[in-house]
Amino acid sequence: MSDLTKLTLKAALEGLKAKAFSSREITAAHIAAIEAARPLNAFVLETPDQALAMADAADARLAAGQGGPLEGAPLGIKDLFCTQGVRTTACSRILGDFKPTYESTVTSQLWRDGAVMLGKLNMDEFAMGSSNESSAFGPVTNPWRSRGSNQPLTPGGSSGGSATAVAADLCLGATATDTGGSIRQPAAFTGTVGIKPTYGRCSRWGIVAFASSLDQAGPIAKTVEDAAILLRSMSGHDAKDSTSLAVDTPDFPAYVGRSVKGLRIGVPREYRADGMPAEIDALWEQGVAWLRDAGCEIVEVSLPHTKYALPAYYIIAPAEASSNLARYDGMRYGLRAADARSLTDVYEATRAEGFGEEVKRRILIGTYVLSHGYYDAYYLKAQKVRRRIADDFDTAFQRVDALLTPTAPSAAFGLGENAADPVAMYLNDIFTVTVNLAGLPGLSLPAGLDAQGLPLGLQLIGRPLDEGTLFSLGGALEQAAGFSAKAERWW
């Protein structure tokens, strides 16, 4: 495989600017890599013709000295982002052959900055899942395998395709979204870097909605600096998203490499979960030691409502999903059931046929908790617990600048392993959902390998709008960890 696919985004951008190679060359190299990697099932739609056309346009701009911050860089786009004229499905059957007539704000900013689109990436249906096993296009296979085993592993979810594509060098970076951990957990499972920014940092306009008070777009990339470069392009106030924050976008890449001396790092005691694997605990201790060596002050903190975050999330997210997914009714776009006659029949049959089991499960839970007689006991209660969780973080941030935790309670698990029990699957998000509930930024980076040779991630959680500190700390941890392992190519 071409060396061009092994480059980081940063190195590729420098090479393109210095004319060491063209965008057409590096894009073609990635197109070939994608074709060879079809067994991974990371891409649900490849767009090679469009990619080469965009690459040629980028080459013209580079030749004229007019390149933007991402000029000529080939990226993958999670299939939750509406891409004009290019099929967008949220990996569900219910959207059918939907081709948006508009471009999401986030992707339009990537194209504005000169990036190239390689295709749309696989994901759990409607972003509901932690293993990419609920996709209408079939599961994604993690490029990583346990030492001495051929067993296919999950890349995590919902952004399993994004994480896999980055880990397998099929793109220089990818867009993803995170509602309960869907950027951070797959990043941890695949040895890549992922950041969910502060709620409101990136526009949600044109991103298929799952849970509107929790969804956030963010990048998955090969390095902390690459993630910072992508996030800078993805961020920004958007008048079309009323939850988008009217704040300037800091120069995120400038924070990577800054000294972290004197920063206070909180270690939340409640994240030491029962039955947590010793290896993950050890890695967490190692992360603490690395930051201490870098000059940080380590402070034990308490987030007392941590254990209620998952159940609160599994009321709020399904409730919001039941509302957001009501629009899929077979009338204006997507699938319409063929045999149904009356209006109600069409609704019921279309949605039964078009939605997968996990999506249906969550819509039903959401509908139930919002229904008459249950709203107070469930939804209102969950929103009050949410405030408690957010207050816990506020209190902690009076004494610390960031928190360090593991990202996931295990390494990547086998496909099909959690099929029987939905709650077992939900427990994957135990370290990540608190961050979505509180609207805070959270970054995951690879910090080590477990005994099976599988990557493990550490998570940094920051104050609202303080992604900069996360990039500085992430950079310091990345340097200390020296994680350079790549998945051994078996495809």
């Binding site: 052959d97 939907f98 081709k99 007539t101 409101g200 008070s213 939850t243 924050l245 009217a246 409502h305 254990k307 209620y308 159940p311 599994y314 009321i315 009714d329 077979g330 009338m331 204006r332 776009y333 997507g334 699938l335 319409r336 149904a340 006659r341 009356s342 209006l343 109600t344 069409v346 609704y347 019921e348 049959a349 949605r351 039964a352 939605f355 249906k360 499960r361 819509i363 039903l364 839970i365 509908t367 139930y368 229904s371 006991a377 469930y378 209102l380 209660k381 969950a382 929103q383 009050k384 617990v385 949410r386 405030r387 408690r388 957010a390 029990d421 939905p422 709650v423 509930l437 509180a438």
Partner: protein, 95 residues
């Protein structure tokens, strides 16, 4: 709280998702499992706590009441399962 097949049928109807009768018991068991797990929220003292409806501490922004886009029926109808002469064709709504 456990829910039964009849409740599942009612909720499915509210959600406009057809669930075959032979699925209702299995679904009731699955959903009950999830709801029972969720029940632990009752342990949290939330007296006097304001529900958190949004993580964004800002009032809904207002904009000028002017038309900024629209008028392109072809775009709106582009993905319609059935359309004709500028209309969506849908099943009869009024009986």
């Amino acid at each position: 709280m456990a829910i039964d097949a009849a409740t599942v049928k009612k909720v499915a109807s509210l959600a406009r998702i057809r669930e075959p009768d032979d699925r209702l018991d299995a679904l009731a068991a699955e959903l009950s499992g999830i709801l029972q797990w969720i029940e632990q929220l009752a342990q949290v003292d939330t007296d006097g706590v304001e529900p958190m409806t949004s993580v964004v501490a800002q009032a809904l922004p207002w904009r000028e009441d002017v038309v900024t886009e629209g008028g392109d029926a072809d775009k709106v109808l582009a993905n319609a399962p059935r359309s004709e002469r500028g209309f969506f064709i849908v099943p009869k709504v009024v009986e």
